[in-house]
């Protein structure tokens, strides 16, 4: 039995079509004027300012929050404030919890989406179209509205205040299946799979040796989105977790109470955003590309 090696596969497989922008004759490629740059810089400033402001507040003493006119330059108290966040709340545990939750969800979503996407895009079976339509339709359903029975279910399972209550409902997403189905449909030539079959590959061997290597770029984008979404998820964790909070829940409880300590709150904001910011700095180009391919929903 011959097994296709990764390198051949990668060379044979055509890349999915590039964005129309790269083709000549599309778009609106006028040279940008000074006004275009000025407008974009103003928008950029507006985009960055709230995060910059949380850096300013979290690096100053508590007096800065009430200063008039506002202080606009970061100070030297960032690490004091961070230490205070970790001392007053279980923020370290919350960060760890969020890493566990987001990590497990990401691995699972990428794996199951690729598997189902392969079946939907490249295998022939009865009911394929109907089941795919069902999967796509369910991605539009407002899940937030099912939280009451979901909570009752978790209570029955004894999972309230356990990370499993947040992880398990997130293990698969309709969007992930749809995303991988679309990508694999374009990226894998049928001839390649036929060749594998003639060589005696089982379906799972095809998945492992042909599909997975080709799926890698799309899987990376899906993984990024899934991680960020899981990290930022707030409402369901708020409902089902109490002591065992994720970082967004911990952050919201920093602000709760009759008087909010904004230095503490915005320091927490900065800490909670930092992992996502790091990912964005390193892989922002892929994230932007993923959204512009038009398939990603937030």
């Amino acid at each position: 039995m011959t097994v296709l090696d990764e390198k051949t596969t990668a060379r044979v497989a055509p890349q999915p079509p590039r964005r129309p922008a790269r083709h000549r004759g599309f778009g609106h490629p006028r040279r940008a004027s000074v006004w275009t740059y000025a407008g974009l810089l103003a928008i950029l400033a507006g985009s960055v300012f709230p995060l910059y402001w949380s850096l300013v507040v979290s690096s100053q003493t508590s007096d800065a929050v009430t200063a008039v006119p506002p202080v606009l330059i970061p100070g030297g108290h960032l690490f004091d404030n961070i230490a205070r966040v970790f001392a007053t709340t279980a923020f370290a545990k919350a960060l760890l919890n969020s890493f566990i939750v987001s990590g497990s969800i990401t691995i699972s979503v990428v794996f199951f989406s690729t598997l189902a996407g392969f079946a939907f895009a490249k295998l022939r079976f009865r009911g394929r179209k109907g089941l795919l339509a069902l999967a796509v339709a369910t991605s539009m359903v407002p899940h937030q509205l099912g939280i009451i029975p979901l909570y009752l279910l978790m209570a029955r399972l004894g999972w309230t205040d356990q990370l499993a209550a947040v992880i398990v409902p997130g293990l698969v997403t309709a969007f992930g299946v749809f995303f991988m189905t679309q990508y694999l449909g374009r990226a894998i030539p049928d001839e390649l799979l036929e060749a594998g079959r003639i060589d005696g590959c089982s379906t799972f061997k095809l998945y492992w040796h042909v599909v997975l290597p080709i799926a890698r770029p799309a899987a990376a984008v899906l993984g990024l989105f899934t991680f960020m979404q899981a990290w930022n998820d707030f409402f369901w964790p708020l409902v089902v977790l109490q002591e065992n909070a994720t970082v967004q829940v911990a952050l919201s409880s920093l602000a709760a109470g009759y008087t909010t300590d904004y230095t503490l709150t915005l320091t927490g904001t900065l800490l909670a955003t930092l992992p996502i910011l790091v990912i964005f700095m390193v892989l922002g180009r892929q994230i932007v590309g993923g959204i512009m391919q038009g398939a990603i929903k937030g």
Partner: protein, 303 residues
């Protein structure tokens, strides 16, 4: 038929179902089932977690809901915040996409810049803005003071709280929609603009006569997505109140339907009533989605 051939046949016919099974199992159990079961719960007087302690009351919860002033208040707030955030947001996104659709230096940096708000969590965004919209020491009131406008108590009034929440939503979503528009703009054939140039059309005319009409399907798509998301907002009004109370301000001036559902379900522990709210909201969302769909069809027919 040899046994290995039979095995291959089984693999060929059966294994696809195996690959999609995990998705449908998990999704059915934790996604679809709860949503359907919400319907059942909504027909009950259900105040305890214990599943045995509930009583079938038919449409009782719905009847109560229709006469509940808090519900109508929440519905009004939701629609108001949705309109205030969606309309300016999509217009601004169009303009930003237009700016980005030039030959630019550091193209990727600008695109990443406009997307930055969208990758920030709702909790983080709302808390920072809640501070900036503070009555006494907030940045927004200070800026207004500089141009001679008196301080606004943003949380206290209906209009001001709706505006503040709409700005939070806008800040987080405008750049995302701009990138969607930009992607569509790049698919518009360039000869259209060249022909317009020859005819002496100005840049502004070209934007409204070529770019916007070519973008119509995408504009409808973003409107539908913003509708489904916007009618469900909950975290922004919950956290904007600061104290973590789900009433949406002292007079419920910014309580949305989803927040009302959360209050009834997880503060009052009226699971049946909260489920009725959930299904009603689902209906409202579906209604708006259908209106959008009909709109899409009509526009598609015209072309």
């Amino acid at each position: 038929m040899s046994s290995s051939a039979r095995l291959a046949r089984l693999d060929h016919k059966g294994s696809p179902y195996l690959y999609i099974l995990p998705f449908f199992l998990l999704f059915g159990a934790f996604g679809l089932f709860p949503l359907v079961y919400t319907g059942y719960v909504s027909f009950n007087d259900w105040d305890l977690i214990d599943a045995g302690a509930h009583q079938w009351i038919g449409l009782g919860n719905y009847r109560e809901l229709l006469t509940d002033a808090y519900f109508w208040n929440a519905l009004g707030n939701t629609l108001s915040i949705w309109v205030l955030s969606t309309v300016p947001q999509l217009l601004a996104a169009l303009w930003i996409a237009h700016l980005l659709n030039h030959r630019l230096r550091t193209r990727t940096a600008f695109r990443m810049g406009v997307l930055l708000p969208n990758i920030t969590s709702i909790v983080a965004v709302t808390l920072v803005f809640a501070q900036m919209f503070g009555r006494d020491f907030g940045m927004v009131n200070w800026l207004l003071g500089v141009v001679g406008i008196g301080p606004v108590d943003w949380q206290a009034d209906t209009w001001s709280s709706h505006l503040a929440i709409a700005i939070i939503v806008m800040w987080r979503w405008t750049g995302y929609n701009a990138l969607i528009y930009l992607a569509s703009m790049q698919a518009i054939p360039h000869d259209l603009y060249e022909a317009a140039d020859l005819d002496g059309a100005s840049q502004t005319q070209q934007f409204w006569r070529i770019t916007v009409p070519m973008l119509r399907p995408t504009i409808i798509f973003t409107t539908v997505i913003s509708t489904i998301g916007g009618l469900q907002i909950i975290a922004e009004p919950l956290l904007f109140a600061g104290s973590g109370t789900p009433t949406g301000g002292s007079d419920r001036q910014f309580q949305t339907i989803a927040l009302f559902m959360y209050e009834q379900g997880f503060r009052e522990f009226r699971f049946g009533y909260a489920s009725a709210i959930a299904w009603t909201l689902c209906l409202v969302i579906a209604l708006f989605a259908i209106v959008n769909l009909l709109l899409t069809r009509r526009i598609a027919d015209e072309e």
